[in-house]
Amino acid sequence: MADLDIFREETRSWLEANCPEEMRQPVRDEEDVYWGGRKATFKNDAQKAWFDICVEKGYTVPAWPKEYGGAGLSAAEAKVLRQEMARINARPPLSSFGIWMLGPALLQFGTEGQKQRFLNEIARGEIRWCQGYSEPGSGSDLVSMQTFGEDKGDHWEVSGQKIWTSYADQADWIFCLVRTDKANKYQGITFMLFDMENEGVSTKPILLISGNSPFCETFFDNVKVPKSYGEDCPGQVGEVNRGWDVAKYLLGHEREMISGAGGGGLTSAIGAAMQRHVAKDGGDLDPVLRSELAMFDVDALAYAAMGEKFLDEMKTGRGHPAQPNMMKYVGTELNKRRHELMMSAGGSRSLEWDSEETSGGKPSRNWLRTKANSIEGGTSEVMLNVVSKRILDLPGA
C-alpha cells in the first residue's frame, strides 16, 4: 500500500512537470487525438512533446513490459496512473488499434520475435494498424468470412474484400482474418499481418450518416503476404488455421474498450451540465427531460460502479469470461441514450450541421456516430446471445 502511495506521489509530480498545459484538456475533436503511423503529423508542439516524453517513459502502453516499449507497471500502478491522468484531464499521448487490440493479442499469442518488433513499433507510434475482420456477407456471423489466402510456398496469395475497416485509408498495416482452409469453418482461418502498401491492396472510404468517413471498404487482389518477416517473426499470429482463437481474444478487448469499462469517459452523470447548458440560453429543463436525465444519471453512475467492479474482478481472475459482452451491451446502449438526451437538452442549437458555434456540428455528428456503438465490435443482439448462452446457460436453438 505504502509503495503505491509513493508511486502516486511520483506520478503526480512527473505529470506536473511533463504534461504540457495544452494537453490537459478534454479531447474535443479528431485533431486532438494522435494516432501515430507513417502518415501522422502533430497538431502542435505540445502534442509532440507530450507524445515524445511518454514514449521515453513507456507511458504510451504503461502496463506492457519494458522490453516491448512499455513501463512494466503492475495493474494497480497502471490504475493509479490512469487516475492521476484523469485528475488533470491529461489526454492520451497516443491512441491506436495497435494498443487496444493487436498488442494484447500479440502479448498473448505472439512469438518473441513478433513481440520485439511489433509491440515496440506500436509503443513508439511508428505503425498505425487497422482491423480487417468484417466482410460484406460476414458481420455478426463473422466466422462465415470468405477472404481467401492460397498457399504459395513462401507466401500466401490473398484475395477478397473486407468492409467497415476503420481508418483503413490512413493505416499502415492490417491485422486480417483470412480463410486458409475452406473445408474447416472455425479451424480454417489464419490471423495475418501485412503492409497496406503491398501491391493489390486498395481502400475506398464509406460515408457515414454523421457526414464523416473514417471507415472503408478494403479490397485484396492477389496480395502477396509473406509467411515470415525474419527470424522468429512469422507473418501470422498463432498457428496457421488457428486464427479464430486470436480473433476471439482480441474481440474481448475491443468490447471492453467500446463499453468504456477500460476507463473511457462515458460513465459519468450529465444532468448538471445539461441544466447549465439550458440555463445559458435563459431556459429551464422541462420537468420530463429533467426526470429522464435523473434516471440516466442513476444508470450511468451505477454502470460506472459496475465498470470498477469489472476491472477489479478481472485483475484477480474472478468474474465470468463473457462479462465483457454484458459490459459492451450496457455501455453502448447507455452511450446512445446519453447522446439522445444531450441532443434534446441542446434543442435546435444541436441541429446545426456546420456552424462555428457547434464546432462544425459536433453535437449532431457525435449523436449520429454513437448509433454505431451497438453495432461495431459485435451488435447488442449478438452480445445478448452470448450472455444468455454462456453466462445464463440457456439452451441453444
Binding site: 448538471a272 434516471m295 444508470d299 451505477a302 484477480t316 454484458m326 451491451y329 450472455v387 444468455s388
Partner: protein, 379 residues
C-alpha cells in the same frame, strides 16, 4: 477498496446464505406465518437464531457487545434475507434503530443494545407521516414539558410498530414542518401511555402500524443525541436503511431472476424449451445485466458509506434508485415468463413481486431517489 468481498465478507456471505436458505426459507417462515395470520409477520424464534448467529448486533459497536461491522456487512446479510424473503426485524432493528442508537448516550445504549443483540427485543423506526416517503417534512411535535417532552402527532406505515419494544421517533422540537433543523429523535418505549397503534397488513404480509401519539410523556433521557440536532442522525439512519433495503432488493432481484432462468430451462412449449426462444433469451440477458449492475452499485455505495465518503449520500440514492428499477424489472419479467403459473399463490415468484413492491416503497422509491440524485447533483 476493490469492489468484491474480502475473505471475511465472503465467509459471512456463505454463512448467511446457508442459514437463510435453511432456517429462513420461504416455506418455513414467510408462508408459515402468513398462513397463520401472524400479527407480527415474523417468528420470534427465528429472531433469536439471528442473535445466535451474531447477526443482530452486526452494526453495534464492539464496546456495546456488537460485531462492530459496517453497512457492507449488514448488506451481505440483507441480500440473503432478500433471496429467501425471510421475514425478520433485521432491517428495522439491527440496521435503522441500531444506527440511531449508536448516536445515543452510554446510558441509552446500555438500556437498549443488550436486548437487541440477544434477540429478546424488536425495535421500529417511525419517520414518515404519509403514504410516500417525505422525511424532509416532519410535523409530529415534541414540546418541552417539565424535565421531558410531550409527543403529539402521527406516523404512518411504521414497519413492525406493534411488535416493537421501542420505537425511534423523529419529531419536531422547534421550527416549522419543512425546516432542516429542529428535529429530535426519541426512543419511545412500548408501554408509553398515549400511544395508539392501528395495525395493517401489507401486500408482502409484513405488518405496519399507523401510530398516534397523543401527548405521550417522555423523560429527557429518551432523547437520542442532541435536542434539535436530530437531522444529522436521521440522515445517518436513512442512509443505513436505504442502502440496507437496496441490498435486500438485490437479493429479491437475484432470486427472482434465478428462478426465472431455471424455469426457462425446464418448461417446454411448441416442442422446445422456452429458454430456446431468443425473445426470452434477450430479456433474460438484459435482466442479468441490470441485476449485476445493481449489485455493483450497492456494494460501492455501502463501501462509500462505511468509509465516510462525501459521495456516500449521492451513491446511496443511486443504489436505491437503481435497485428499485432493477428488482421491479426482475419480478415483472419473472411472473410474465412463468406464464400462468406465475399468477398462482402456490409458486413463489409472486411472493417476490410483493416483497419488491414493499421494499421499493420503503424509505423512498426509485423516483424519489432519482430526484434526489438530481438535486444532489445540482439540478
Amino acid at each position: 477498496m476493490p469492489l468484491y468481498y474480502d475473505e471475511d465478507q465472503t465467509m459471512l456471505a456463505d454463512t448467511a446464505a446457508q442459514f437463510m436458505a435453511e432456517e429462513g426459507a420461504i416455506n418455513k417462515q414467510l408462508r408459515h406465518w402468513r398462513d397463520r395470520d401472524c400479527p407480527d409477520g415474523f417468528g420470534h424464534a427465528l429472531w433469536k437464531q439471528f442473535a445466535e448467529m451474531g447477526f443482530t448486533g452486526i452494526l453495534v459497536g464492539e464496546e456495546d457487545g456488537g460485531m462492530g461491522m459496517g453497512n457492507v456487512e449488514a448488506g451481505i446479510v440483507l441480500e440473503q434475507i432478500g433471496r429467501n424473503l425471510t421475514p425478520s426485524p433485521f432491517l428495522t432493528s439491527s440496521v435503522l434503530a441500531a444506527t440511531a442508537l449508536k448516536e445515543g448516550s452510554a446510558d441509552m445504549r446500555s438500556r437498549y443494545m443488550p436486548g437487541l443483540i440477544s434477540g429478546d427485543c424488536v425495535f421500529a423506526v417511525a419517520i414518515d407521516e404519509g403514504a410516500k416517503h417525505r422525511p424532509e417534512r416532519i410535523k409530529t411535535k415534541a414540546e418541552k414539558s417539565g424535565n421531558g417532552f410531550k409527543l403529539s402527532g402521527q406516523k404512518s406505515f411504521v414497519i413492525q410498530g406493534a411488535s416493537a419494544d421501542m420505537i425511534v421517533v423523529a419529531a419536531r422540537t422547534s421550527g416549522s414542518d419543512a425546516d432542516e433543523d429542529g428535529i429530535t429523535l426519541f426512543a419511545v418505549p412500548k408501554d408509553a401511555a398515549g400511544m395508539e397503534h392501528d395495525s395493517v397488513r401489507l401486500v408482502d404480509s409484513s405488518m405496519a402500524t399507523h401510530t398516534k401519539f397523543d401527548g405521550v410523556e417522555l423523560d429527557g433521557d429518551a432523547v437520542i443525541g442532541e435536542v434539535d440536532g436530530g437531522r444529522e442522525i436521521l440522515n445517518k439512519v436513512l442512509n443505513a436503511g436505504r442502502i440496507g433495503s437496496a441490498a435486500e432488493g438485490c437479493g429479491v432481484a437475484g432470486a427472482a431472476m434465478d428462478m426465472t432462468v431455471d424455469y426457462l430451462k425446464q418448461r417446454k412449449q411448441f416442442g422446445k424449451l422456452i429458454g430456446e426462444f431468443q425473445a426470452l433469451q434477450h430479456r433474460a440477458a438484459h435482466l442479468y445485466s441490470e441485476v449485476e449492475i445493481a449489485r455493483a452499485v450497492t456494494i460501492k455505495a455501502g463501501q462509500l458509506l462505511d468509509g465516510g465518503s462525501e459521495k456516500a449520500d449521492l451513491m446511496v440514492s443511486v443504489a436505491k434508485a437503481k435497485v428499485g428499477q432493477t428488482a421491479g424489472l426482475a419480478v415483472r419479467e419473472g411472473v410474465q415468463m412463468h406464464g400462468g403459473i406465475g399468477m398462482t399463490d402456490e409458486y413463489d415468484i409472486g411472493l417476490y413481486m410483493k416483497r419488491d413492491k414493499a421494499l421499493n416503497e420503503f424509505l423512498g422509491d426509485a423516483y424519489y431517489h432519482a430526484d434526489r440524485v438530481a438535486r444532489l447533483s445540482g439540478y
